[in-house]
């Protein structure tokens, strides 16, 4: 790690008068294994390292990168970035982040057991997952069983005083299932996420993947009505992904958010407290520093239903006259940072999913939605998406249903949240799931 900082130091130290220089230096590895019918179908093991240099002068930004840390190349990258400044369009808000006094919150984001996991062990995890899944039910086929991991370390140094670094690793297994009966095929999936591959709960992933597919067999269309829906944790996480784009400071600065003029307003049920918390090390996307090198932090987006804040990088913050919330995100050394939520999470309720379902007389458990992103109107907040799940009748799960839509608006849906589960589920995405009960959603079936 110190070597990455040293490299970044050397580059940033070459800032000329009137220039701001940022060096982002990173190294990483990733592995993915896909098995099919007891054989390894795909195996990818990749390493990468590189440096991205951003220079800002007179409001113009130049950027260049190289996929190497070879000392002979670093000055070339710096020179290229400097050349590219002349092509940049002046932007009065363009600037690098500066230290903001927020201390980095140390986390446990690195597990040595992942480093010690052999290739054979990783393949075995995927094979075991496929085997356990197939053993779960004779009607099940496995579409794919995967193991994936990643490890990365990065350093950011700027001529404006930022000097930070961090590292994290993580892994997950996932399985996609197909269940066949009477000429129909239903799909399911299961995940297990962590940092220690030997502690991944593959049995749970397999069980869920089997249940999700088989319990939909024989599904029909539900009656059209306005009713209560209970979102499965994975579906809730998908909705949080959509909501995250509406609280993104860059979207707000450009006037493209539903909530751009709603700060301080009641925008959700009082039950809703929504945080973006990359400092919770249980999240797959947890991190200590953001893409500009500022400390990652717990941001309270919605508190008791009231819209408390948006998330910002230093750039989006400058555009709207506020400060960064440590939400600069970048995809690696090949690009400049943007703005985004990092680890969305609803503060859980105190009831189990079973208790939530028991509280519903008539409703639908939404197990899966299809095409949610294209199903949401980003301007109006209207959404309409295909769904499948299980009928809830008198507090119990009943017959499966599919080929229906659920529709509402994001604004109305947030206001109509009636209960949250205590079943936080960690997923390989930038949002965490839990069960959520929503009243008065339009179900369109027969």
């Amino acid at each position: 790690m110190s070597e990455l900082l040293e490299i970044a130091d050397r580059i940033a130290a070459q800032a000329r008068p009137g220039e701001q220089v940022e060096a982002y230096v990173s190294r990483g590895t990733e592995t993915s294994v896909r098995v099919y019918r007891g054989e390894v179908e795909q195996f990818t093991s990749a390493q990468s390292e590189g440096v991205g240099v951003r220079i800002i002068r007179d409001g113009r930004t130049g950027f260049a990168y190289a996929g190497t840390l070879d000392s002979g190349v670093l000055n070339e990258v710096l020179a290229d970035a400097r050349d590219n400044v002349t092509f940049g369009t002046p932007d009065e808000y363009a600037a690098l982040a500066s230290p903001d006094g927020v201390a980095v919150r140390p986390q446990s984001l690195w597990d040595e057991r992942l480093e010690q996991c052999s290739t054979e062990d990783k393949v075995r995890l995927a094979l075991d997952l496929e085997r356990m899944t197939l053993a779960g039910d004779p009607r099940i086929r496995v579409d794919s069983a995967d193991y994936a991991d990643g490890a990365g370390e990065a350093a950011v140094v700027t001529s404006t005083g930022i000097r930070s670094s961090g590292r994290e690793n993580g892994c997950y297994v996932s399985v996609s299932t197909l269940a066949d009966e009477n000429g129909e095929t239903m799909t399911g999936f299961g995940f297990a996420v962590g940092r220690d591959p030997f502690a991944l709960d593959s049995a749970k992933a397999a069980k869920e993947a089997v249940e999700r597919a088989t319990r939909l067999l024989g599904a029909g269309k539900p009656a059209s009505r306005r009713t209560t829906v209970v979102l499965d944790p994975y579906v809730t996480a998908q909705f949080l992904g959509v909501i995250s784009s509406t609280v993104n400071g860059e979207a707000v600065a450009k006037g493209r958010s539903l909530f751009k003029d709603r700060l301080g307003d009641l925008v959700a049920s009082p039950l809703i407290t929504l945080v973006d918390d990359p400092t919770d090390s249980r999240a797959y996307t947890a991190t200590e520093v953001d893409g500009e090198g500022l400390a990652a932090r717990r941001n309270l987006i919605v508190e008791g239903g009231r819209l408390n804040q948006f998330v910002h990088s230093s750039y989006s913050a400058r555009r709207v006259g506020t400060v960064s919330t440590g939400n600069a995100v970048r995809g690696g050394f090949r690009g400049s940072p943007g703005c985004g939520c990092m680890a969305m999470q609803l503060v859980p309720g105190n009831r189990s999913p079973e208790e939530l379902i028991a509280s519903v007389d008539d409703g639908v458990l939404i197990q899966m939605v299809q095409g949610l992103h294209s199903g949401v109107n980003p301007v109006s907040g209207d959404f309409s998406t295909g769904a499948s799940g299980l009928t809830i009748r008198n507090g119990s799960l009943a017959e499966p249903v599919r080929e229906f839509t659920i529709a509402s608006t994001l604004q109305r849906m947030l206001m109509d949240v009636a209960a949250l589960g205590n079943d936080l589920e960690w997923l390989p995405m930038r949002a965490t799931g839990l069960s959520m009960v929503i009243h008065d959603v339009t179900v369109s079936g027969t």
Binding site: G183, G371, V376, N377, D382, S384, G386, T405, A407
Partner: protein, 234 residues
């Protein structure tokens, strides 16, 4: 041959080109609301087909044939019932189908199932990773096993011409018939790509005519305006 409307020609200028007598325009790849990721209703597709002047529309919904069967009688053009099937290693189209095929099969099983009901095995967007293409290994395997009838050398949604060109080279190198289609997920896309070929009757006649076909088309992938979804029974 139906006459395309000025509005359709404005969208897809190649529709204005003359067609030899006895030839037809066949869009070998299109979707409707039965696909799940398209919102095109029957009324919209009737209007779009009439505007484009397409003579034969292969309706190849994702993992479904119900819409294609239902539209056979109502469209102002002939319909080939097809299905774009998700296999374990990417997508395969079956044309001239009479039965719905299950998805998630291995590619060989899927191709064999298409052939078993007298269908045509057609490989869509074979090199476009943005379109859930069949893996190259699976494609080579299927071609080696003699289980491919045609591959798509113009897919109107494929944004890189080089990927369509790669498919055309592959077709020549492996003596495969070349097809083209709009991959329409919105009504206005009908007419974006098709083959011009002598008229035909049934799958055998189709393959025979396809030997003389001229793939025609351009990249056309306009964004869909948001609208509420309709989820028909599949």
């Amino acid at each position: 041959m139906a006459v395309p409307s000025p509005a359709a020609v404005a969208l897809h200028p190649h529709l204005a080109s003359p067609l030899p007598a006895g030839w037809v325009r066949v869009d070998m790849h299109s979707h409707t609301m039965w696909s799940g990721d398209s919102t095109t209703t029957p009324d919209e597709i009737i209007e779009a087909v009439a505007a484009s002047g397409i003579d034969v529309l292969c309706i190849t919904d994702h993992n479904a044939i119900k819409g294609a069967v239902q539209l056979t009688e109502s469209l102002p053009c002939r319909v080939v019932v097809g299905e774009e099937l998700k296999t374990h290693a990417g997508e395969i189209i079956g044309l001239f189908l009479s039965e719905h095929l299950p998805f998630g099969l291995a590619p060989r099983e899927a191709a064999a199932a298409i052939r078993a009901q007298g269908g045509v095995v057609y490989i869509p967007h074979p090199f476009d990773p943005m379109r859930k293409n069949l893996s190259e290994a699976a494609l080579d395997d299927l071609v080696g096993a003699g289980l491919v009838d045609a591959i798509e050398v113009i897919n109107a949604k494929t944004s890189l011409r080089s990927l369509n060109a790669q498919a055309a080279r592959y077709a020549i190198e492996h003596s495969l018939l070349a097809g083209a289609g709009s991959d329409a997920h919105v009504p206005d896309a009908i007419g974006a790509a098709y083959v011009e070929m002598p008229d035909f009757d049934g799958p055998a006649g189709f393959l025979e005519s396809l030997r003389q076909a001229r793939p025609v088309g351009h990249h056309w992938d306009a964004a869909r305006p948001w609208r509420p979804r309709i989820i028909p029974s599949t």
